[in-house]
């Protein structure tokens, strides 16, 4: 692809020239070379091992190591969050190598895990002891009473059994009765804590399973108790269950386990109980100190980690990305070196070579790296050097499609026309000032916000701060032109041009005023606001303005396609696409624009709809009172003929000429000498060259051209009409603003009551900010975007390139900040 060397180059107009380069790196300096290239961030590596799976690649084990280390670092991060520490921007400590770091991370992880399990165990023991102490204290209160009640109940039930039994077999049972009464009632008991919400169910199930043969006494524990198993504070009750017999005991134990009721031994003896209580209290305080010491140790370990976390994290990320990149290089076994291929900008050549030299020196290698430029027919990636101001606009364009390598970049004009078209739809200098102040705040706090992590919406607003400030500046300008300050006009630039017909102003409300002075010098005359004929006048003005601006922007688009054709030395496109397109668009809509301007200058009453429609329907008819200038009829016939000729001019010659070109190019190739075939086999076939024995289907090309022509012809009408959205949105904005002002603020003012006024002001502020400053801004933004993406860019933009994504540590660390 040749270059149009006649025109001087302009920043951002076309992609930076890129070249495909090959770097041959000796093994010893490979790691360091990639590291320095990553710091530089101007080389995009191609994946030379794309056929291999991730496990077959050379450095798969290294990547696994890095993955392990990243997992350990994530574990540390969880611990740090538990301790409530934030990751600090650590000062750059000593340089640490990856191997050392691996060992250190392993040690720290084992230590932390051990500390965590120990703490857990100790904590559990502590909670159990606490519960035991509670049982000892509380159960003692009601134990004896409960025991006596239980024994009484047991004796009763036994007597009951005996009484019943004696009716059946009096002789045998009499003997039993005597022996039984003399026996002492032996009851077993179980004591413990049960969660309060389960206590009723616990009691019921105990009663049912043992058929009422147990006695349960519960007492409430006032404070919450930490459950040893779950570790959470739960409300519990102290209980004592009295039972008799082995079977009952098993049932009770099982039920206790099922309900999660923890059982603790309890002694009858008061003295022993007090002794137990003191013992348990002693153990508790011991455990507490141990736990405290352990926690202190843990938090100091975590703090030490937190200080270094950022640095370690970055190191691991960096190393992982270096190994991923190394995996993409091809390994030449015979020469013991790695071969890298990739794209880099031409201007970066010296920087890259310097980095390579530094790596050679730093790694004490005997052999230096070799940097050579390859020639290829592949399409390079597109790279624009943007700064913080232009990058937002370039992203807007890239969102639609990345520019093909070295085609004209619409982003250049978007920097001005996008905020301008937004402002045409937004025009109010009061709102513009609000928007300006808000964005100014963001820009002044740039440094602070760029290092913070912002929410999604804030991040979008912050990222687009330069776009929004341009939009607000243009809005202030168009606000002055539309003469609207929160929908109120001012006489800022001179006196209004209109005055009453006679001193009494009788006719002002019926026939209207007349223009007595010079036209209001800047913008819309302030008299118009609030009049009955305001809308017809403004609508006519804004619709015609939209058409004029639209035709201007579309012409700019077609002119850019001329520059593209000139740059790629594509003469066919100039003669058989650019020229007929210009002729077609301007003979119809350029002529309409001319008529609009002439009508305005002469003040004629001609009906332009009529003129345009009858230009097509009956071009030879006399124009009569729609005549704007001498010779208009003949000019119209000429323009109609030109437009009619332009359509086949766009459609037919280009495919025929392309076919001729293709035949010429391949005429010689059929008779190529045989040697060239051998050369092709021997030559280095490492890079894939799509050498074009391209297929040429004439029918395909013709259909493509037909679609292109129809799209342009029909599109010229629809795109011109599409620009009328400039009118529509500007009307909506001014009407909304006027409604809020008149129906909220003025209404509140009319009541002469301070409270209502204050309420009115608050409602006005909320409505203005919510509807006009947020919703209208987004709406106008969207429509201006659409006008650029569709109506402007479809005249010249192909947008099927791919973006230059160099290997850069800055980008890597940004990526993983999720």
């Amino acid at each position: 692809m040749g270059e149009g060397g006649s025109l001087p180059t302009m920043d951002l107009m076309r992609s930076e020239p890129m070249q495909l380069a090959r770097i041959i790196i000796p093994m010893e300096s490979a790691h360091r070379t990639i590291s320095y290239l990553g710091d530089l961030g101007l080389f995009q590596f191609k994946d030379l091992n794309s056929g291999k799976s991730p496990f077959q690649r050379t450095f798969a084990t290294q990547i696994k190591r890095c993955g392990e280390m990243a997992r350990k670092l994530r574990f540390f991060k969880v611990q740090m969050m538990k301790a409530g520490l934030l990751t600090l921007r650590s000062a750059y400590g000593s340089e640490i190598s990856l191997d050392e770091l691996e060992v250190k991370l392993g040690e720290l992880e084992a230590e932390l895990i051990e500390m965590n399990t120990n703490t857990e165990k100790l904590q559990r023991a502590y909670n159990e002891l606490l519960e035991y102490k509670l049982v000892l204290q509380k159960a003692g209160d009601f134990f004896h009473h409960a025991q006596s009640s239980a024994t009484a109940q047991q004796r009763e039930s036994e007597e009951h059994h005996l009484v019943e039994g004696s009716m059946d077999s009096p002789l045998l049972l009499e003997q039993e009765m005597t022996t039984d009464i003399s026996k002492q009632v032996k009851l077993g008991y179980v004591s413990g804590l049960v969660p309060r919400d389960k206590s009723m169910a616990f009691e019921r199930i105990l009663f049912r399973t043992t058929r009422g043969n147990v006695f349960l006494k519960q007492n409430v524990v006032e404070e919450h108790v930490v459950d040893p198993v779950q570790g959470e504070k739960v409300e519990k009750n102290v209980f004592v269950v009295f039972y008799s017999g082995e079977r009952a005991k098993n049932k009770v134990l099982k039920i206790c386990d099922a309900f999660g009721a923890n059982r603790y031994p309890f002694t009858d003896d008061i003295g022993k109980r007090y002794q137990m209580i003191t013992e348990v209290s002693g153990k508790l305080s011991e455990l507490k100190t141990t736990i405290d010491v352990g926690t202190l140790h843990w938090s100091s370990a975590v703090q030490a980690i937190a200080n270094q976390f950022e640095q370690w994290n970055n190191l691991v990320k960096k190393e992982k990305s270096i190994y991923h990149t190394l995996n993409a290089l091809s390994f030449d076994v015979t020469k013991k070196c790695l071969v890298a291929e990739g794209w880099c900008p031409v201007f970066a050549t010296t920087q890259i070579q310097k980095a390579l030299q530094r790596a050679t020196v730093d790694s004490n290698s005997q052999v230096g790296a070799i940097f050579e430029v390859l020639h290829t027919k592949e399409s390079p990636p597109t790279y624009f050097r943007t700064n913080k101001f232009t990058s937002a606009f370039q992203e807007i364009v890239d969102a639609y499609g990345v520019a093909k390598y070295q085609e004209a970049n619409p982003g250049l004009f978007t920097i001005v026309t996008f905020p301008f078209l937004f402002a045409v739809m937004f025009g109010d200098w009061g709102h513009g000032i609000c928007l300006f102040l808000a964005t100014l705040f963001l820009i002044l706090r740039e440094k602070k916000y760029s290092s913070q992590k912002l929410g999604d919406i804030m991040e979008m607003a912050f990222g687009g701060r330069y776009v929004i400030i341009m939009m607000s500046i243009f809005s202030i300008y168009t606000g002055f032109i539309y003469n609207e300050f929160f929908s109120v006009p001012f006489e800022l630039f001179g006196r209004s041009a209109y005055d009453c017909r006679d001193p009494s102003c009788r006719d002002a409300t019926t026939i209207g005023m007349i223009k007595v002075r010079e036209t209001y010098p800047f913008g819309v005359d302030p008299i118009w606001h609030g009049t009955r004929s305001e809308l017809p006048f403004l609508n006519s003005l804004k619709m015609k303005m939209s058409i004029l601006l639209g035709v201007a922007q579309m012409n700019l688009g077609i002119v850019l396609s001329y520059f593209n054709a000139k740059f790629f030395q594509n003469d066919i496109n100039i003669w058989y696409q650019f020229i007929p397109q210009m002729i077609f668009l301007n003979s119809l809509f350029g002529y309409l624009s001319l008529l609009i301007i002439v009508k305005w200058c002469t003040g004629s009453q001609a009906d332009l709809y009529h003129v345009m429609i009858y230009m097509f329907l009956s071009p030879t008819d006399d124009l009569g009172e729609n005549q704007l200038f001498w010779g208009q009829k003949y000019l119209q016939i000429l323009l109609l003929l030109l437009a009619l000729v332009a359509v086949p001019w766009m459609l037919i010659p280009k495919p025929i000429l392309l076919k001729k070109q293709h035949e010429e190019r391949h005429r010689g190739q059929a008779y190529a000498p045989l040697q060239s075939l051998d050369e092709n086999i021997d030559s280095d076939s490492e890079y894939k060259s799509h050498d074009g024995h391209e297929e040429f289907e004439f029918s395909e090309v013709l259909v493509h051209q037909l679609i292109h022509t129809i799209e342009f012809v029909l599109g010229s009408v629809s795109n011109t009409a599409s620009y009328l959205r400039l009118w529509a949105l500007s009307l909506a904005h001014s009407e909304l603003s006027s409604v809020f002002y008149e129906k909220v603020l003025l209404l509140a003012w009319g009541f002469d009551n301070v409270v209502i006024l204050v309420i009115g002001i608050i409602v006005f502020i909320f409505a203005t900010v919510g509807v006009l400053l947020v919703m209208e801004t987004l709406s106008a933004f969207l429509h201006a975007l659409r006008l650029h993406w569709v109506e402007f860019q479809n005249k010249f933009y192909e947008g099927d390139g791919y973006k230059f994504s160099p290997f850069s540590f800055a980008l890597v660390s940004e990526e993983e900040e999720d």
């Binding site: 302009m10 026309t417 913008g523 009049t531 009955r532 303005m545 003040g603």
Partner: protein
Amino acid sequence: MGFILTTLIFLVIGIIACFCARICCNKGPSANLFHLTLVITATVCCWMMWAIVYLAQMNPLIVPILSEGE
């Protein structure tokens, strides 16, 4: 007359803006051309909008009819 005068004013402001851009940020010929393009585009856009609104009001076909109670 007012039209031509104000157009000249726009032209002068545009030229002054070009010079300001050249003085403030002179970063090589391609960057200078870029700034020049932006300034010219902005001036042309602003002038077009003003000119359209001015021309539309020069020979009006509709006159303001005040609403009742003004």
